[in-house]
Symmetry: C2
Subunit: 321 residues, 2 copies
Amino acid sequence: MSQQENELIQRISGLLGGRRRKGSVALGIGDDAALWVPKPEREVVLTCDWFLEGTHFLRGKHPPHAVGWKCLARAVSDIAAMGGVPRCFLMSLALPADLTGTWLDRFLRGLRRAAKELHCDPAGGDTTRRKEVLISITVIGEVSRGEAIHRSGATVGDAIYVSGTLGEAELGLRMLRRGLGMAKATNAALRKHLYPRPRLDLGQWLAEKRLASAMMDLSDGLSTDLPRLCAASGVGARIEGDSLPLSSLVSRAEATKLALHGGDDYELLFTVKRRNERRLTRKFRALGLTRIGEITRERGISITDNGKSIALRSAGWDPFR
Amino acid sequence: MSQQENELIQRISGLLGGRRRKGSVALGIGDDAALWVPKPEREVVLTCDWFLEGTHFLRGKHPPHAVGWKCLARAVSDIAAMGGVPRCFLMSLALPADLTGTWLDRFLRGLRRAAKELHCDPAGGDTTRRKEVLISITVIGEVSRGEAIHRSGATVGDAIYVSGTLGEAELGLRMLRRGLGMAKATNAALRKHLYPRPRLDLGQWLAEKRLASAMMDLSDGLSTDLPRLCAASGVGARIEGDSLPLSSLVSRAEATKLALHGGDDYELLFTVKRRNERRLTRKFRALGLTRIGEITRERGISITDNGKSIALRSAGWDPFR
């Protein structure tokens, strides 16, 4: 810490909403730690996520406003995946000295927008100087006791559902890398990549109504994330290739690959007991809930396409590959 | 995430204590988020801290076991500085592929040791691959409603106290940089640098007895941290140079510089109303509580030495300098 860092903290604090807030955060940025008062009879939901230059975003390609939005939105998505309500967040931020001007301002504006729209108050953080932009976000949320939806609750015969369409965020990343669409704020794929919307309403509704037996968010692609849900539950899965909610922006073959392996969608993947399926139909029509397959006793993930069943290989996003 | 990352998470989870724990963490590592149940009538204390290779530690100099201990201990120190009790932590960890063997094991053993001794359970985290070791730790703690000690409560005439001795951690860092003392586990200065002990008992006692009007931990050195406490409280301070609790390992002149400007001590700096001072005398004799000066109406920090009073310039640790 330093005078320069003191000033940086004051700027962050100023843009994000000050030292003492009206919300549930009793004491925010500027002391050794933040104080927060949870509601009674709730469990606290805790998650943290990296957002690193070169690994999760490209400084020359990703607008700082989108970096600010996305670093918080993707961490909040983990709260949605438990059926929780986000309350506040902490940010560890490392910055090169030459980004503490305009870049930081735009980044903070995107972050502030996400904090406001996702109802997640800034509570504190830590800053330091570094050659590259490094961000770690911790989100603190709440869920009614016993209502959180785990990854481990899927049982044989449960239907497998996803929200929205799959693969468009990956398509958006490809457009961004090729320098396409930067000016087209209306482009759906690019918007989905830059400004993902965690499915908070859906997650909370499924938790409250106890409709999902297992749930997680899709961050690394269906072919990587579904095996995780199955491993946690001790089951396998069969996916119907025809049923995947595909992007209509590219060919069917391309859209299928993107839906299976594309990362960064932040849609919800969840399983539902058959007797509960009819209760899903009316809600979330605009978002779309699609039945993509079933949980099986046989371990492993298979995909059925044109009557043939083949094993699905994980090929989602993987920093260690 | 990936198979390799799945394996990494399993190793971390295995070494740190598994998926479902007996403590207050209901659901730990391995789901989208962790669940934690706070005690009733408490406020939640939240803090996060960077611990970055090259900025906060040197990979070639700092033993991985000490990196594991210190990254958690320094974040827990912020909980101590509020008078709180640590409960659980989240870790964002980025690692080079070639450190996922022995280095990681030793690091995790140091971290596990700290988690156990500081009663702070691992709740979850995020991992990724990176050229350098990057760590961000979030600690979640509790404090009884209204008992947390802020930086902003110091008033004119309050006595200023510190715990322990000041400057030895900086001395330990110098020894480490020169390659001295690596084998001498008994060396006090080196031990203080590598294995700082957050003053949890003292912080909690001061909060419970309502003895401190303001408090913070000393992480960046007295000459940097005291101005922060004074700024938050809207006051100034006068330090008695003769009263500083110095290291006896170096000359008096050198020890004074270290006590004023050395970082990483993680001792507590707190202010006490005069009428409460006599209540401090019996407790914490082994640790040592030293009166080093007084809060003044005049802004700025002065230091009195041999009868002369001069302005104290901030010269503590500063990554932005």
